[in-house]
């Protein structure tokens, strides 16, 4: 249970309308007694203590707070929690299982799709919404689908690669090696992470340098 009027005296609190909401979040049913003005992002973070969802700009611009509501990406800072009553919400915590990362998460790891990581949960949820509808997106389609999510670190390049990587993996194909000619996808890379470090050593070194050097 969570509310936004904890600071109020009981007499004042009695004046405030509260509503019970029942939300299925990452497969679990949760209930909360809330004020209608509570934003979904705040219920998720402060009420349900799922702090993977980030609030970045708080002004409907950045997309860091993106979650899926009934499968569609929404900015959780721009939906009232009460509107999620009876709906299903998926946050970034809903991607991985206890033993395994989601392919999108693996892609971000493998392709260095993040630096500071603040925008990452929103990026991943937008990517999830895209791949749920289209498992074979072009680079343009990935860029288009992520155009509501801002990243101030990466320049987006590796994020796009990460999503294409995840798409390939989810199709059951060997994830692409970027930097190689585009049509070389027929050159199968063994789906074995042991081989990856050698393939990517240059790129990894560059990414590490820039992270260390310029922050």
């Amino acid at each position: 249970m969570t509310s936004l009027f904890e600071e109020l005296q009981p007499a004042a609190a009695a004046e405030v309308q509260t509503t019970r909401v029942d939300i299925k979040i990452n497969g679990e049913y949760k209930a909360a007694q809330i004020e209608p003005r509570l934003l979904l992002a705040h219920l998720i973070r402060n009420g349900f203590r799922l702090t993977g969802t980030h609030t970045g700009c708080d002004t409907t611009n950045c997309g860091a707070c993106t979650v899926l509501m009934d499968g569609a990406p929404v900015k959780s800072c721009t939906v009232f929690a009460v509107q999620a009553n009876g709906h299903e919400v998926t946050t970034v915590e809903g991607l991985a299982t206890a033993s395994e990362l989601h392919p999108i998460q693996e892609g971000f790891k493998d392709e260095h799709g993040l630096q500071c990581g603040f925008c990452t949960p929103g990026m991943m949820m937008s990517a999830k919404a895209l791949l749920d509808e289209n498992l074979n997106p072009t680079e343009d389609e990935v860029r288009w689908a992520l155009s509501g999510n801002l990243c101030r670190c990466t320049g987006y390049q590796n994020i796009v690669k990460a999503v294409l990587w995840a798409a390939a993996k989810m199709r059951g194909e060997a994830p692409p090696t970027f930097g190689a000619p585009a049509d070389d996808s027929a050159d199968e890379i063994a789906d074995d992470s042991a081989e990856q470090p050698e393939e990517r050593s240059d790129e990894a070194a560059i990414a590490d340098d820039s992270a260390g050097g310029e922050g």
């Binding site: 936004l4 405030v16 309308q17 509503t19 004020e35 209608p36 003005r37 509570l38 934003l39 705040h42 708080d58 002004t59 409907t60 611009n61 997309g63 993106t66 569609a72 990406p73 929404v74 900015k75 800072c77 721009t78 939906v79 009232f80 009460v82 509107q83 937008s126 919404a129 288009w144 689908a145 992520l146 155009s147 509501g148 999510n149």
Partner: protein, 290 residues
């Protein structure tokens, strides 16, 4: 950041929603909320009551009717339109604008009718509706009425909706011949306010323009109906003279202010360029079909 306190009701019928609006002085309808909620968070809007219409069934439709009109329900989201094949088939202007509204995440929540009702001079849909001669159907306690969008928007963020009326549907009238057109928008990045945008709708028959409309975005205190510019196209075969004249008149109809997105002259130039470019695109795609 969160809004000031408000009461919240989520009725399950239009009638109930209208009654709530009528009984409360300071009530506001919540549909997609992608403009209203940000404004409430900034405390630009402080309604005492929010009437959430999202639980009212059967309002998420968009459809082409047998009489040639196209109808969009109050809960039809931008994303529904962006993905719609019937929209592409029947309403090329709306189909061109759909992917350019806000950003993908906002599009999955925001609504077409809500965007028109928000009456932001930067709104994409109001300009499209002005170009198409479209209307909003408003329902109140005494029934429904249709208001043309050019009359519906009475000023910046202001419409002629009565306190106890809800905009339940957008209606685009049937085409006089084959409908074509396009939408071009200049924005610095996705989701930013447009520097300027232009909506052009053309109904063609036998290579001649039977009906035309031009709506301008972001170049005045409200959506601009460039009716004189559109009139210059009607009866023409989209020859260079007519197109140049329309582009010139559209720029003259705009009333931009210089700001960090560009000078007034620059914005006027964008308007005339976009009119010309949309029509050139239309002609090019018709040549491909022929």
């Amino acid at each position: 950041m969160f809004p000031s306190r408000f009461r919240y009701e989520a009725p399950t019928s239009i009638e109930e929603a209208i009654a709530l609006l009528g009984a409360n002085e300071d009530a506001k309808v919540l549909a997609g909320g992608q403009s209203l909620i940000p404004m409430m968070k900034l405390r630009f809007a402080n309604p005492a009551l929010l009437v959430d219409i999202n639980n009212i069934p059967d309002m998420g439709y968009h459809r082409a009717d047998a009489d040639g009109s196209f109808r969009i329900g109050a809960l039809c989201r931008h994303a529904d339109l962006e993905k719609s094949t019937i929209l592409r088939e029947h309403q090329p202007l709306l189909a061109a604008a759909a992917p350019l509204v806000a950003d993908p995440i906002v599009r999955s929540r925001g609504t077409f009718v809500g965007s028109v009702c928000h009456a932001d001079p930067q709104g994409d849909w109001a300009a499209c509706m002005v170009a198409l001669g479209g209307s909003i159907i408003a329902q109140g306690p005494n029934g429904k009425r249709a208001v043309e969008v050019k009359d519906f928007v009475s000023g910046p963020f202001t419409t002629v909706l009565a306190r106890d009326e809800i905009a339940i549907e957008g209606v685009v009238p049937s085409a006089q011949g084959t409908r074509t057109g396009g939408y071009l928008k200049l924005e610095r990045r996705v989701g930013d306010f447009a520097t300027a945008a232009v909506a052009v709708s053309l109904d063609m028959s036998g290579g001649v323009v039977k009906n035309a409309g031009i709506g301008l975005v972001g170049v005045g205190a409200q959506t601009i109906d460039a009716s004189e510019a559109a009139a210059a196209l009607i009866g023409s075969s989209l020859d260079d003279d007519a197109v140049d004249r329309a582009a010139e008149l559209a720029a003259a109809a705009s009333n931009p202010r210089g700001d960090h997105r560009g000078s007034a002259d620059y914005k006027r130039h964008i308007i005339s360029t976009f009119v010309t470019r949309i029509i050139a695109n239309v002609q090019r795609s018709e040549m491909q079909v022929a």
